[in-house]
Subunit: 163 residues, 2 copies
Amino acid sequence: MLVSSAHKGETNIMTMGWHMIMEFEPSLVGCYIWSENHSRELVRQSKECVINLPTADMAAKVVGIGICSGRDTDKFAKFRLSAEKGAKVVAPLISECYANFECRLHDASLVNKYSLFVWEVVKAHVAQSPHYPRTLHYRGDGEFMISGTNTRRYRRLFKPEML
Amino acid sequence: MLVSSAHKGETNIMTMGWHMIMEFEPSLVGCYIWSENHSRELVRQSKECVINLPTADMAAKVVGIGICSGRDTDKFAKFRLSAEKGAKVVAPLISECYANFECRLHDASLVNKYSLFVWEVVKAHVAQSPHYPRTLHYRGDGEFMISGTNTRRYRRLFKPEML
């Protein structure tokens, strides 16, 4: 995932590998953003971010964004990405991404202990097509798993109230 | 993922969709185990579990385990899975899974608020082959994404200290 942020006129993007859904209602996502990330103070101060889902064709940019720092780099310019205005947050959306989740900080109490930011998704934007994008999943050691297009359905096994 | 547990002679297995790596040293994993899961009290009381990684060929069992309850079902028997003795925890490993992570409870302070158990992996078992197993990723609505075998390497883009 790419996390974009804005604070006092400065914008930034970071590559994020560790995140999880934590609740449906409200829609909560937990994100690991550690103290070495320049974005950490931007999101902590502004209490906002956008979580952007890049597709597999953006892999080299995703790596590039992850190995330089917003301290000395304008990443929107360097990686030729378009900052788009959000509906509910000041942090910019990355237009080239398949989906963008505008987030407000729900809980900062786990930041010091676990570098865990709990975000509430307040607005979601998802591309109409393709239905299943090819996505990137970092394995460590410079290696990504590419997935997304191989789907298997087991609806018939579920009870209706579990879907 | 399949979470196996044991407490006072009772064993159980649950299917878990939401989890994330939270730290490397110590090796921490956050797991969402909500109050409706029969396993919740077993892992809370025993302070142990095993996180087992099933392969794609086990999909129907993974669904089956997720839609019945340990309250009235012996899941090892019903799904013909083999309970194997762990090295460091009493909770049983599921032999048929590709990898097994023996865990001790690291932090229970987020259980009431977020149903989040923070586990420390104290012993890992991983199959020698295949190198890349086909894995299951729940999308919701009875649908899984199958992935694992499509890999892309970007080692050359990384600085050595970042790998």
